[in-house]
Protein backbone atom coordinates (compact mmCIF):
# COMPACT_ATOMS: atom_id res chain seq x y z
CA UNK A 1 0.00 0.00 0.00
CA UNK A 2 2.56 2.52 1.20
CA UNK A 3 5.14 1.81 -1.48
CA UNK A 4 2.64 1.91 -4.34
CA UNK A 5 1.08 5.15 -3.16
CA UNK A 6 4.53 6.73 -2.83
CA UNK A 7 5.49 5.65 -6.33
CA UNK A 8 2.40 7.24 -7.81
CA UNK A 9 3.19 10.54 -6.10
CA UNK A 10 6.28 10.85 -8.26
CA UNK A 11 4.62 10.14 -11.62
CA UNK A 12 5.09 13.84 -12.36
CA UNK A 13 7.29 16.32 -10.53
CA UNK A 14 6.00 16.09 -6.98
CA UNK A 15 5.11 19.03 -4.79
CA UNK A 16 5.46 17.89 -1.18
CA UNK A 17 3.95 19.96 1.62
CA UNK A 18 4.87 19.89 5.31
CA UNK A 19 2.70 21.07 8.15
CA UNK A 20 3.13 20.64 11.89
CA UNK A 21 0.36 18.39 13.19
CA UNK A 22 -1.85 20.10 15.76
CA UNK A 23 -0.75 23.64 14.91
CA UNK A 24 -2.85 25.51 15.89
CA UNK A 25 -5.32 22.64 16.52
CA UNK A 26 -6.08 19.12 15.31
CA UNK A 27 -9.27 20.37 13.65
CA UNK A 28 -7.28 22.92 11.67
CA UNK A 29 -4.69 20.30 10.66
CA UNK A 30 -7.50 18.06 9.41
CA UNK A 31 -8.86 20.85 7.21
CA UNK A 32 -5.40 21.91 6.02
CA UNK A 33 -4.60 18.38 4.86
CA UNK A 34 -7.68 18.60 2.62
CA UNK A 35 -6.67 22.05 1.40
CA UNK A 36 -3.16 20.81 0.56
CA UNK A 37 -4.43 17.83 -1.43
CA UNK A 38 -6.91 19.97 -3.40
CA UNK A 39 -4.25 22.61 -4.08
CA UNK A 40 -2.02 20.04 -5.72
CA UNK A 41 0.26 18.54 -3.07
CA UNK A 42 1.35 15.12 -4.28
CA UNK A 43 2.48 14.04 -0.81
CA UNK A 44 1.86 15.54 2.61
CA UNK A 45 4.28 15.40 5.51
CA UNK A 46 2.74 15.79 8.94
CA UNK A 47 5.13 16.79 11.70
CA UNK A 48 4.58 15.11 15.06
CA UNK A 49 5.74 17.92 17.34
CA UNK A 50 8.77 17.23 19.53
CA UNK A 51 9.89 19.29 22.50
CA UNK A 52 13.43 19.81 21.18
CA UNK A 53 13.48 19.81 17.37
CA UNK A 54 17.21 20.26 16.74
CA UNK A 55 16.96 20.21 12.94
CA UNK A 56 14.32 22.93 12.77
CA UNK A 57 14.58 26.66 12.38
CA UNK A 58 12.50 29.12 14.33
CA UNK A 59 9.31 28.81 12.25
CA UNK A 60 8.85 25.07 12.83
CA UNK A 61 10.24 25.29 16.38
CA UNK A 62 7.50 27.71 17.36
CA UNK A 63 4.87 25.72 15.45
CA UNK A 64 5.93 22.62 17.42
CA UNK A 65 5.64 24.54 20.66
CA UNK A 66 2.14 25.75 19.72
CA UNK A 67 1.04 22.23 18.79
CA UNK A 68 2.38 20.78 22.05
CA UNK A 69 0.72 23.54 24.06
CA UNK A 70 -2.55 22.60 22.32
CA UNK A 71 -2.16 19.04 23.64
CA UNK A 72 -1.03 17.29 20.46
CA UNK A 73 0.26 13.73 20.97
CA UNK A 74 1.42 11.00 18.57
CA UNK A 75 -1.76 9.03 19.35
CA UNK A 76 -4.03 11.93 18.42
CA UNK A 77 -2.18 12.41 15.14
CA UNK A 78 -2.51 8.70 14.36
CA UNK A 79 -6.26 9.06 14.93
CA UNK A 80 -6.29 12.15 12.74
CA UNK A 81 -4.65 10.29 9.84
CA UNK A 82 -7.14 7.45 10.21
CA UNK A 83 -9.98 9.97 10.10
CA UNK A 84 -8.78 11.85 7.01
CA UNK A 85 -8.23 8.55 5.20
CA UNK A 86 -11.68 7.26 6.14
CA UNK A 87 -13.83 10.37 5.98
CA UNK A 88 -12.10 13.12 4.01
CA UNK A 89 -11.10 11.33 0.81
CA UNK A 90 -7.38 11.89 1.36
CA UNK A 91 -5.65 9.66 -1.18
CA UNK A 92 -2.19 11.26 -1.50
CA UNK A 93 0.62 9.52 0.39
CA UNK A 94 1.13 10.74 3.94
CA UNK A 95 4.42 10.84 5.79
CA UNK A 96 5.06 11.41 9.46
CA UNK A 97 8.07 13.53 10.30
CA UNK A 98 9.25 13.44 13.87
CA UNK A 99 12.29 12.88 16.07
CA UNK A 100 13.38 9.46 17.24
CA UNK A 101 12.53 9.74 20.94
CA UNK A 102 8.71 9.75 20.65
CA UNK A 103 8.92 6.77 18.27
CA UNK A 104 11.40 4.95 20.51
CA UNK A 105 9.21 5.66 23.52
CA UNK A 106 6.10 4.24 21.84
CA UNK A 107 8.06 1.17 20.71
CA UNK A 108 9.17 0.77 17.08
CA UNK A 109 6.82 -2.07 16.12
CA UNK A 110 3.86 -0.62 17.99
CA UNK A 111 4.32 2.84 16.48
CA UNK A 112 4.94 1.72 12.92
CA UNK A 113 2.15 -0.85 13.03
CA UNK A 114 -0.30 1.79 14.21
CA UNK A 115 0.99 4.26 11.62
CA UNK A 116 0.52 1.76 8.80
CA UNK A 117 -3.00 0.85 9.96
CA UNK A 118 -3.93 4.54 10.14
CA UNK A 119 -2.75 5.10 6.56
CA UNK A 120 0.76 6.51 6.94
CA UNK A 121 3.09 5.58 4.07
CA UNK A 122 6.46 6.93 5.14
CA UNK A 123 8.42 8.03 8.18
CA UNK A 124 11.11 10.73 8.25
CA UNK A 125 13.33 11.03 11.32
CA UNK A 126 15.90 13.84 11.06
CA UNK A 127 17.95 12.60 14.02
CA UNK A 128 18.24 9.07 12.68
CA UNK A 129 21.08 9.12 10.13
CA UNK A 130 21.78 6.25 7.78
CA UNK A 131 24.25 4.58 10.15
CA UNK A 132 21.56 4.23 12.82
CA UNK A 133 18.70 3.23 10.47
CA UNK A 134 19.20 -0.44 11.31
CA UNK A 135 17.31 -0.39 14.56
CA UNK A 136 14.14 1.00 12.96
CA UNK A 137 14.30 -0.59 9.54
CA UNK A 138 13.00 -4.02 10.57
CA UNK A 139 9.90 -2.57 12.17
CA UNK A 140 9.33 -0.28 9.17
CA UNK A 141 9.60 -3.19 6.76
CA UNK A 142 7.25 -5.34 8.82
CA UNK A 143 4.71 -2.51 8.86
CA UNK A 144 5.15 -1.63 5.18
CA UNK A 145 6.12 1.97 5.97
CA UNK A 146 9.02 3.48 4.01
CA UNK A 147 11.83 4.76 6.22
CA UNK A 148 13.07 7.81 4.35
CA UNK A 149 16.81 8.46 4.05
CA UNK A 150 18.22 11.96 4.04
CA UNK A 151 21.21 13.13 2.01
CA UNK A 152 22.92 16.47 2.72
CA UNK A 153 25.52 18.52 0.83
CA UNK A 154 27.98 17.25 3.47
CA UNK A 155 27.17 13.56 2.86
CA UNK A 156 29.91 13.36 0.21
CA UNK A 157 31.27 9.82 -0.03
CA UNK A 158 28.39 8.45 2.02
CA UNK A 159 25.82 9.59 -0.55
CA UNK A 160 26.10 6.48 -2.72
CA UNK A 161 25.78 4.08 0.19
CA UNK A 162 22.72 5.92 1.50
CA UNK A 163 21.19 5.88 -1.99
CA UNK A 164 21.78 2.14 -2.44
CA UNK A 165 19.65 1.32 0.61
CA UNK A 166 17.02 4.03 0.15
CA UNK A 167 13.30 3.32 0.02
CA UNK A 168 10.24 5.44 -0.80
CA UNK A 169 12.06 8.62 -1.77
CA UNK A 170 15.30 10.33 -0.83
CA UNK A 171 15.06 13.59 1.09
CA UNK A 172 17.86 15.74 -0.28
CA UNK A 173 18.69 18.58 2.09
CA UNK A 174 19.30 21.58 -0.18
CA UNK A 175 21.79 23.41 1.99
CA UNK A 176 23.53 23.54 5.35
CA UNK A 177 21.65 24.53 8.45
CA UNK A 178 18.20 23.95 9.86
CA UNK A 179 14.79 24.19 8.18
CA UNK A 180 13.57 27.63 7.23
CA UNK A 181 13.04 29.96 4.34
CA UNK A 182 16.21 31.04 2.51
CA UNK A 183 16.39 33.88 0.03
CA UNK A 184 18.98 31.98 -2.00
CA UNK A 185 20.03 28.35 -2.25
CA UNK A 186 23.64 28.22 -3.36
CA UNK A 187 24.31 24.48 -3.24
CA UNK A 188 24.82 22.91 -6.65
CA UNK A 189 22.60 19.87 -6.18
CA UNK A 190 23.19 18.45 -9.68
CA UNK A 191 26.27 16.36 -8.75
CA UNK A 192 24.53 15.04 -5.62
CA UNK A 193 21.49 13.99 -7.63
CA UNK A 194 23.78 12.39 -10.21
CA UNK A 195 25.55 10.37 -7.50
CA UNK A 196 22.18 9.19 -6.20
CA UNK A 197 20.90 8.34 -9.68
CA UNK A 198 23.97 6.21 -10.28
CA UNK A 199 22.84 3.93 -7.47
CA UNK A 200 19.05 3.92 -7.38
CA UNK A 201 15.79 4.65 -9.15
CA UNK A 202 14.20 5.84 -5.90
CA UNK A 203 12.95 9.41 -6.52
CA UNK A 204 14.75 12.42 -5.05
CA UNK A 205 12.87 15.28 -3.38
CA UNK A 206 14.70 18.47 -2.42
CA UNK A 207 13.82 20.30 0.78
CA UNK A 208 15.02 23.05 3.19
CA UNK A 209 14.66 26.70 2.31
CA UNK A 210 12.31 26.54 -0.68
CA UNK A 211 9.57 29.18 -0.65
CA UNK A 212 9.14 30.70 -4.11
CA UNK A 213 7.84 29.32 -7.43
CA UNK A 214 11.21 30.10 -9.02
CA UNK A 215 13.12 28.13 -6.37
CA UNK A 216 10.64 25.25 -6.65
CA UNK A 217 10.95 25.17 -10.42
CA UNK A 218 14.75 25.32 -10.31
CA UNK A 219 15.04 22.50 -7.78
CA UNK A 220 12.38 20.34 -9.44
CA UNK A 221 14.19 20.65 -12.77
CA UNK A 222 17.11 18.77 -11.24
CA UNK A 223 15.16 16.32 -9.07
CA UNK A 224 11.83 14.50 -8.83
CA UNK A 225 10.10 16.78 -6.38
CA UNK A 226 10.39 19.62 -3.90
CA UNK A 227 9.46 19.81 -0.24
CA UNK A 228 8.10 23.05 1.22
CA UNK A 229 7.60 23.34 4.97
CA UNK A 230 8.48 26.54 6.78
CA UNK A 231 6.84 28.78 4.16
CA UNK A 232 3.49 27.00 4.69
CA UNK A 233 3.89 26.80 8.46
CA UNK A 234 4.60 30.54 8.47
CA UNK A 235 1.21 31.15 6.81
CA UNK A 236 -0.41 29.09 9.57
CA UNK A 237 1.46 31.09 12.21
CA UNK A 238 0.08 34.23 10.62
CA UNK A 239 -3.53 33.15 9.98
CA UNK A 240 -4.04 30.53 12.71
CA UNK A 241 -7.37 28.74 12.33
CA UNK A 242 -8.20 30.71 9.21
CA UNK A 243 -5.26 29.87 6.96
CA UNK A 244 -7.28 27.82 4.41
CA UNK A 245 -7.32 30.39 1.63
CA UNK A 246 -3.74 31.51 2.18
CA UNK A 247 -2.49 27.91 2.04
CA UNK A 248 -4.62 27.10 -1.03
CA UNK A 249 -3.31 30.12 -2.93
CA UNK A 250 0.33 29.61 -1.96
CA UNK A 251 0.44 25.86 -2.57
CA UNK A 252 -1.58 26.22 -5.74
CA UNK A 253 1.01 28.60 -7.09
CA UNK A 254 4.02 26.48 -6.12
CA UNK A 255 2.50 23.19 -7.25
CA UNK A 256 1.48 24.91 -10.47
CA UNK A 257 5.05 26.06 -11.01
CA UNK A 258 6.14 22.41 -11.28
CA UNK A 259 3.72 21.54 -14.09
Amino acid sequence: MGTERLRQAFTNKAFIAFITGGDPSLEATRRYIGVLQRAGAALIEIGIPFSDPIAEGEVIQTASARALAAGTTPTRLLELVETVRREDGITVPLAFMTYLNPVFHAGYDAFLGAAARAGVDALIIPDLPYEEHGELRGAATRAGVALISMVAPTSLARTRQIARDAQGFIYLVSSLGVTGVRSEITTDIAPIVAAIRAETEVPVAVGFGISTPAQARAMAAQADGVIVGSAIVRLIAEHGEAADDAIAAFVGELAGALR
Binding site: S51, I54, P74, N101, V103, F104, D127, P153, V178
Partner: protein, 393 residues
Protein backbone atom coordinates in the same frame (compact mmCIF):
# COMPACT_ATOMS: atom_id res chain seq x y z
CA UNK B 1 28.74 -0.02 16.18
CA UNK B 2 29.80 3.58 16.60
CA UNK B 3 30.67 4.44 20.16
CA UNK B 4 28.37 2.11 22.07
CA UNK B 5 28.41 1.54 25.81
CA UNK B 6 26.16 -1.51 26.06
CA UNK B 7 22.98 -0.32 24.37
CA UNK B 8 23.78 3.35 25.00
CA UNK B 9 25.59 5.93 22.89
CA UNK B 10 25.51 5.99 19.08
CA UNK B 11 25.26 8.87 16.61
CA UNK B 12 21.65 10.11 16.47
CA UNK B 13 22.22 13.39 14.69
CA UNK B 14 21.10 15.11 11.50
CA UNK B 15 22.69 13.87 8.29
CA UNK B 16 24.33 17.27 7.77
CA UNK B 17 26.59 16.62 10.79
CA UNK B 18 27.48 12.99 10.11
CA UNK B 19 30.51 13.77 8.04
CA UNK B 20 31.80 16.15 10.73
CA UNK B 21 31.59 13.57 13.52
CA UNK B 22 33.12 10.90 11.28
CA UNK B 23 36.05 13.21 10.52
CA UNK B 24 36.32 14.10 14.18
CA UNK B 25 36.49 10.46 15.24
CA UNK B 26 39.25 9.83 12.70
CA UNK B 27 41.19 12.96 13.70
CA UNK B 28 40.88 12.06 17.36
CA UNK B 29 42.15 8.53 16.75
CA UNK B 30 45.11 9.93 14.81
CA UNK B 31 45.88 12.49 17.53
CA UNK B 32 45.78 9.85 20.25
CA UNK B 33 48.35 7.83 18.36
CA UNK B 34 50.59 10.88 17.88
CA UNK B 35 53.08 11.45 20.72
CA UNK B 36 53.40 15.06 19.52
CA UNK B 37 49.73 15.74 20.29
CA UNK B 38 49.88 14.10 23.71
CA UNK B 39 53.05 15.98 24.60
CA UNK B 40 51.55 19.31 23.56
CA UNK B 41 48.39 18.64 25.57
CA UNK B 42 50.34 17.48 28.63
CA UNK B 43 52.47 20.60 28.51
CA UNK B 44 49.43 22.84 28.37
CA UNK B 45 47.75 20.95 31.20
CA UNK B 46 50.87 21.38 33.32
CA UNK B 47 52.07 24.87 32.47
CA UNK B 48 48.80 26.57 31.60
CA UNK B 49 46.06 24.77 33.53
CA UNK B 50 48.23 24.06 36.58
CA UNK B 51 48.05 20.27 36.69
CA UNK B 52 48.37 17.98 38.47
CA UNK B 53 45.59 19.24 40.69
CA UNK B 54 46.11 18.56 44.39
CA UNK B 55 44.54 15.72 46.28
CA UNK B 56 43.94 17.44 49.58
CA UNK B 57 43.37 15.56 52.83
CA UNK B 58 40.50 17.45 54.47
CA UNK B 59 41.30 16.87 58.13
CA UNK B 60 38.60 19.12 59.60
CA UNK B 61 35.94 17.71 57.27
CA UNK B 62 37.08 14.20 58.19
CA UNK B 63 36.84 15.00 61.90
CA UNK B 64 33.43 16.63 61.45
CA UNK B 65 31.99 13.60 59.64
CA UNK B 66 33.62 11.04 61.93
CA UNK B 67 34.09 8.20 59.45
CA UNK B 68 36.46 7.58 56.56
CA UNK B 69 39.29 9.97 55.72
CA UNK B 70 38.05 12.49 53.18
CA UNK B 71 40.24 13.65 50.31
CA UNK B 72 39.24 16.44 47.96
CA UNK B 73 40.40 16.35 44.35
CA UNK B 74 40.97 20.03 43.78
CA UNK B 75 39.80 20.63 40.20
CA UNK B 76 38.57 23.98 41.50
CA UNK B 77 42.20 25.12 41.59
CA UNK B 78 42.70 24.63 37.86
CA UNK B 79 43.02 27.66 35.62
CA UNK B 80 39.48 28.96 34.92
CA UNK B 81 38.28 27.37 38.15
CA UNK B 82 36.91 24.01 37.13
CA UNK B 83 37.62 20.65 35.53
CA UNK B 84 36.21 21.93 32.22
CA UNK B 85 39.63 23.17 31.10
CA UNK B 86 40.94 19.56 30.80
CA UNK B 87 38.49 18.70 28.05
CA UNK B 88 38.59 22.08 26.39
CA UNK B 89 42.36 22.15 25.95
CA UNK B 90 42.18 18.69 24.37
CA UNK B 91 39.36 19.57 22.00
CA UNK B 92 40.65 22.97 20.94
CA UNK B 93 44.11 21.54 20.21
CA UNK B 94 42.40 18.87 18.15
CA UNK B 95 40.24 21.48 16.37
CA UNK B 96 43.36 23.44 15.50
CA UNK B 97 45.01 20.30 14.20
CA UNK B 98 41.96 19.68 12.01
CA UNK B 99 42.34 23.16 10.52
CA UNK B 100 39.25 24.60 12.19
CA UNK B 101 39.40 28.32 12.88
CA UNK B 102 36.23 28.73 14.92
CA UNK B 103 34.82 26.94 17.95
CA UNK B 104 31.30 26.98 19.34
CA UNK B 105 30.10 25.68 22.69
CA UNK B 106 27.08 25.38 24.90
CA UNK B 107 27.28 26.33 28.53
CA UNK B 108 25.07 25.94 31.58
CA UNK B 109 26.74 27.45 34.62
CA UNK B 110 29.20 29.20 32.36
CA UNK B 111 32.20 27.14 33.44
CA UNK B 112 32.50 25.32 30.13
CA UNK B 113 31.88 28.52 28.21
CA UNK B 114 34.60 30.31 30.16
CA UNK B 115 37.01 27.42 29.65
CA UNK B 116 36.27 27.33 25.91
CA UNK B 117 36.63 31.10 25.57
CA UNK B 118 39.95 30.83 27.44
CA UNK B 119 41.38 28.09 25.25
CA UNK B 120 40.15 29.89 22.13
CA UNK B 121 41.97 33.05 23.23
CA UNK B 122 45.11 31.02 23.91
CA UNK B 123 45.05 29.27 20.54
CA UNK B 124 43.76 32.20 18.48
CA UNK B 125 40.41 30.66 17.52
CA UNK B 126 37.12 32.52 17.10
CA UNK B 127 34.68 31.53 19.81
CA UNK B 128 30.91 31.75 20.17
CA UNK B 129 29.07 30.43 23.20
CA UNK B 130 25.36 29.59 23.47
CA UNK B 131 23.80 30.03 26.87
CA UNK B 132 20.20 29.81 28.04
CA UNK B 133 18.66 33.16 28.96
CA UNK B 134 17.71 31.77 32.36
CA UNK B 135 21.36 30.82 32.98
CA UNK B 136 22.62 34.17 31.69
CA UNK B 137 20.64 35.70 34.51
CA UNK B 138 21.90 33.16 37.08
CA UNK B 139 25.53 33.50 35.97
CA UNK B 140 25.98 37.10 34.85
CA UNK B 141 29.60 37.19 36.01
CA UNK B 142 30.59 34.31 33.76
CA UNK B 143 28.92 35.99 30.78
CA UNK B 144 31.11 39.04 31.24
CA UNK B 145 34.14 36.82 31.76
CA UNK B 146 33.55 35.13 28.40
CA UNK B 147 33.17 38.47 26.67
CA UNK B 148 36.36 39.67 28.32
CA UNK B 149 38.09 36.66 26.77
CA UNK B 150 36.90 37.70 23.33
CA UNK B 151 33.99 35.30 22.94
CA UNK B 152 30.57 36.21 21.66
CA UNK B 153 27.76 35.00 23.94
CA UNK B 154 24.39 34.19 22.33
CA UNK B 155 21.36 34.09 24.62
CA UNK B 156 19.08 31.13 23.91
CA UNK B 157 15.42 31.91 24.49
CA UNK B 158 13.83 28.72 23.15
CA UNK B 159 12.42 26.03 25.44
CA UNK B 160 13.28 26.44 29.10
CA UNK B 161 16.25 28.74 28.41
CA UNK B 162 18.69 26.39 30.14
CA UNK B 163 21.50 23.95 29.30
CA UNK B 164 19.37 21.59 27.17
CA UNK B 165 18.27 24.49 24.97
CA UNK B 166 21.84 25.77 24.73
CA UNK B 167 22.87 22.34 23.39
CA UNK B 168 19.98 22.41 20.87
CA UNK B 169 21.05 25.81 19.61
CA UNK B 170 24.75 24.94 19.41
CA UNK B 171 23.89 21.83 17.37
CA UNK B 172 21.74 23.97 15.06
CA UNK B 173 24.60 26.43 14.66
CA UNK B 174 26.97 23.57 13.83
CA UNK B 175 24.68 22.43 10.99
CA UNK B 176 24.68 26.01 9.66
CA UNK B 177 28.44 26.31 9.60
CA UNK B 178 30.36 23.10 9.89
CA UNK B 179 33.33 23.36 7.53
CA UNK B 180 35.49 25.75 9.58
CA UNK B 181 33.82 25.12 12.95
CA UNK B 182 34.35 22.61 15.73
CA UNK B 183 31.69 22.09 18.38
CA UNK B 184 33.49 21.86 21.74
CA UNK B 185 30.93 19.73 23.56
CA UNK B 186 31.32 20.19 27.28
CA UNK B 187 30.41 16.83 28.69
CA UNK B 188 30.57 13.08 28.15
CA UNK B 189 27.47 13.24 26.00
CA UNK B 190 26.30 13.81 22.46
CA UNK B 191 27.10 11.67 19.43
CA UNK B 192 30.19 9.46 19.17
CA UNK B 193 33.08 10.29 19.49
CA UNK B 194 32.25 12.96 22.08
CA UNK B 195 31.41 10.69 25.07
CA UNK B 196 34.64 8.72 24.63
CA UNK B 197 36.83 11.68 23.73
CA UNK B 198 35.63 13.88 26.58
CA UNK B 199 35.99 10.98 29.03
CA UNK B 200 39.58 10.44 27.85
CA UNK B 201 40.42 14.13 28.26
CA UNK B 202 38.84 14.18 31.73
CA UNK B 203 40.36 10.85 32.84
CA UNK B 204 43.44 12.81 33.91
CA UNK B 205 41.42 13.54 37.07
CA UNK B 206 41.12 9.89 38.03
CA UNK B 207 44.61 8.92 36.86
CA UNK B 208 46.18 11.55 39.10
CA UNK B 209 43.82 10.82 41.98
CA UNK B 210 44.60 7.10 41.89
CA UNK B 211 48.35 7.70 42.11
CA UNK B 212 47.89 10.40 44.77
CA UNK B 213 45.64 8.36 47.05
CA UNK B 214 48.00 5.37 46.89
CA UNK B 215 50.82 7.69 47.93
CA UNK B 216 48.91 9.52 50.62
CA UNK B 217 46.61 6.85 52.09
CA UNK B 218 48.60 3.78 51.09
CA UNK B 219 45.60 2.02 49.60
CA UNK B 220 42.72 2.50 47.20
CA UNK B 221 39.74 4.52 48.43
CA UNK B 222 36.47 2.89 49.48
CA UNK B 223 34.63 5.25 47.18
CA UNK B 224 35.04 8.07 44.70
CA UNK B 225 32.19 10.59 44.64
CA UNK B 226 31.34 13.23 42.04
CA UNK B 227 28.38 15.27 40.86
CA UNK B 228 26.71 14.29 37.59
CA UNK B 229 24.89 16.46 35.08
CA UNK B 230 26.05 15.17 31.72
CA UNK B 231 28.74 13.63 33.89
CA UNK B 232 32.20 14.71 32.69
CA UNK B 233 33.98 15.25 36.00
CA UNK B 234 32.44 12.05 37.34
CA UNK B 235 33.41 10.02 34.29
CA UNK B 236 36.92 11.46 34.41
CA UNK B 237 37.26 10.50 38.06
CA UNK B 238 35.56 7.08 37.74
CA UNK B 239 37.24 5.77 34.62
CA UNK B 240 40.69 4.90 36.05
CA UNK B 241 38.93 3.16 38.98
CA UNK B 242 36.45 1.09 36.93
CA UNK B 243 38.67 -2.00 37.11
CA UNK B 244 39.21 -1.64 40.86
CA UNK B 245 36.18 -3.60 42.11
CA UNK B 246 36.60 -2.53 45.74
CA UNK B 247 36.21 1.14 44.85
CA UNK B 248 32.58 2.28 44.85
CA UNK B 249 31.77 4.79 42.09
CA UNK B 250 29.09 7.22 43.23
CA UNK B 251 27.49 9.86 41.03
CA UNK B 252 25.37 12.57 42.63
CA UNK B 253 22.48 13.82 40.50
CA UNK B 254 20.64 17.09 41.02
CA UNK B 255 17.28 16.29 42.60
CA UNK B 256 16.26 19.97 42.66
CA UNK B 257 13.17 20.29 44.83
CA UNK B 258 13.07 16.49 45.18
CA UNK B 259 12.68 13.42 42.96
CA UNK B 260 9.02 13.12 43.99
CA UNK B 261 8.35 16.55 42.42
CA UNK B 262 8.52 17.62 38.74
CA UNK B 263 11.14 20.22 39.74
CA UNK B 264 14.09 17.84 39.46
CA UNK B 265 16.97 17.00 37.11
CA UNK B 266 17.77 13.53 38.50
CA UNK B 267 17.92 11.49 35.31
CA UNK B 268 18.72 8.04 36.68
CA UNK B 269 16.21 8.44 39.51
CA UNK B 270 13.33 9.73 37.40
CA UNK B 271 14.20 9.26 33.71
CA UNK B 272 13.63 6.54 31.15
CA UNK B 273 15.61 5.11 28.26
CA UNK B 274 15.47 7.34 25.21
CA UNK B 275 17.33 9.00 22.35
CA UNK B 276 18.24 12.67 22.42
CA UNK B 277 21.15 15.00 21.72
CA UNK B 278 22.83 12.41 19.57
CA UNK B 279 22.84 9.55 22.06
CA UNK B 280 20.82 6.71 23.46
CA UNK B 281 20.78 7.00 27.24
CA UNK B 282 18.42 7.87 30.07
CA UNK B 283 16.40 11.07 29.85
CA UNK B 284 13.80 12.87 31.93
CA UNK B 285 10.74 12.73 29.68
CA UNK B 286 6.97 12.57 29.75
CA UNK B 287 4.72 9.62 28.93
CA UNK B 288 4.91 10.20 25.17
CA UNK B 289 8.63 10.87 24.91
CA UNK B 290 8.75 14.66 25.08
CA UNK B 291 11.88 15.81 26.92
CA UNK B 292 10.90 17.14 30.34
CA UNK B 293 11.66 20.67 31.50
CA UNK B 294 14.05 19.93 34.36
CA UNK B 295 15.13 22.04 37.30
CA UNK B 296 18.07 22.37 39.68
CA UNK B 297 19.56 25.28 41.57
CA UNK B 298 22.75 24.33 39.79
CA UNK B 299 22.83 25.55 36.20
CA UNK B 300 25.59 23.04 35.43
CA UNK B 301 23.50 20.02 36.49
CA UNK B 302 20.21 21.35 35.11
CA UNK B 303 20.14 18.86 32.24
CA UNK B 304 17.53 16.18 31.38
CA UNK B 305 20.02 13.49 30.30
CA UNK B 306 23.19 11.72 31.38
CA UNK B 307 26.20 10.57 29.38
CA UNK B 308 25.84 7.11 27.79
CA UNK B 309 28.78 5.57 29.65
CA UNK B 310 27.16 6.51 32.96
CA UNK B 311 23.92 4.91 31.74
CA UNK B 312 25.95 1.78 31.02
CA UNK B 313 27.71 1.84 34.42
CA UNK B 314 24.26 2.17 35.97
CA UNK B 315 22.90 -0.79 33.96
CA UNK B 316 25.79 -3.02 34.98
CA UNK B 317 25.63 -1.87 38.61
CA UNK B 318 29.29 -0.83 38.55
CA UNK B 319 28.40 2.73 39.54
CA UNK B 320 25.65 4.03 41.81
CA UNK B 321 23.70 7.24 41.18
CA UNK B 322 22.03 9.07 44.02
CA UNK B 323 19.78 12.15 44.00
CA UNK B 324 20.77 15.22 46.07
CA UNK B 325 18.33 18.09 46.63
CA UNK B 326 18.94 21.83 46.32
CA UNK B 327 18.57 22.14 50.08
CA UNK B 328 21.20 19.49 50.81
CA UNK B 329 23.57 20.98 48.24
CA UNK B 330 23.24 24.51 49.63
CA UNK B 331 23.83 23.20 53.17
CA UNK B 332 26.95 21.40 51.95
CA UNK B 333 28.12 24.53 50.12
CA UNK B 334 28.04 26.45 53.39
CA UNK B 335 29.36 23.53 55.45
CA UNK B 336 32.50 23.10 53.34
CA UNK B 337 33.12 26.85 53.37
CA UNK B 338 33.04 26.95 57.17
CA UNK B 339 34.79 23.63 57.81
CA UNK B 340 37.64 23.81 55.31
CA UNK B 341 37.66 27.37 54.03
CA UNK B 342 36.82 26.13 50.55
CA UNK B 343 33.78 27.46 48.67
CA UNK B 344 32.84 24.76 46.17
CA UNK B 345 30.82 25.19 43.00
CA UNK B 346 27.17 24.46 43.74
CA UNK B 347 27.53 21.54 41.32
CA UNK B 348 30.38 20.03 43.36
CA UNK B 349 28.45 20.76 46.57
CA UNK B 350 26.03 17.99 45.51
CA UNK B 351 28.89 15.49 45.89
CA UNK B 352 29.90 16.98 49.23
CA UNK B 353 26.28 16.70 50.39
CA UNK B 354 26.10 13.00 49.66
CA UNK B 355 29.50 12.43 51.29
CA UNK B 356 28.07 13.90 54.50
CA UNK B 357 25.56 11.03 54.57
CA UNK B 358 27.87 8.34 53.27
CA UNK B 359 31.20 8.89 54.99
CA UNK B 360 30.15 8.58 58.67
CA UNK B 361 29.23 4.89 58.15
CA UNK B 362 32.75 4.02 56.98
CA UNK B 363 35.73 3.22 59.20
CA UNK B 364 38.61 5.64 59.84
CA UNK B 365 41.12 3.39 58.06
CA UNK B 366 39.15 3.78 54.85
CA UNK B 367 39.17 6.81 52.57
CA UNK B 368 36.94 8.50 50.03
CA UNK B 369 37.73 10.97 47.28
CA UNK B 370 35.28 13.76 46.49
CA UNK B 371 35.78 15.59 43.23
CA UNK B 372 35.61 19.32 43.81
CA UNK B 373 34.90 19.92 40.15
CA UNK B 374 34.81 23.70 40.42
CA UNK B 375 35.03 26.70 42.68
CA UNK B 376 32.00 28.49 44.02
CA UNK B 377 32.71 32.19 43.43
CA UNK B 378 30.21 32.19 40.57
CA UNK B 379 27.49 30.87 42.90
CA UNK B 380 27.85 33.18 45.86
CA UNK B 381 25.15 35.65 44.75
CA UNK B 382 22.67 32.86 43.91
CA UNK B 383 23.21 31.14 47.26
CA UNK B 384 22.73 34.45 49.06
CA UNK B 385 19.43 34.87 47.20
CA UNK B 386 18.47 31.30 48.11
CA UNK B 387 19.00 32.28 51.73
CA UNK B 388 16.90 35.41 51.29
CA UNK B 389 19.74 37.95 51.04
CA UNK B 390 19.71 40.27 48.03
CA UNK B 391 23.17 41.11 46.74
CA UNK B 392 24.29 44.10 44.72
CA UNK B 393 25.37 43.36 41.15
Amino acid sequence: MNGRFGIHGGQYIPETLMNAVTELAAAYAAAQADPGFTAELDALLRDYAGRPSRLYYAARLTAALGGAQVFLKREDLNHTGSHKINNVLGQTLLAQRMGKTRVIAETGAGQHGVATATAAALLGLDCEVFMGCEDIERQALNVYRMELLGAQVHPVTSGTGTLKDAVNETMREWTRRVADTHYVLGSVMGPHPFPTMVRDFQAVIGREARVQILEQAGRLPAAVIACVGGGSNAMGLFYPFVDDPTVALIGCEAAGAGVETPRTAATIATGALGVFHGMKSYFCQDDVGQIAPVYSISAGLDYPGIGPEHAFLHDTGRATYVPVTDDAAVDAFEFLARTEGIIPAIESAHAVAYAREYVPALSPDESVIICLSGRGDKDVAAIARYRGREMEG
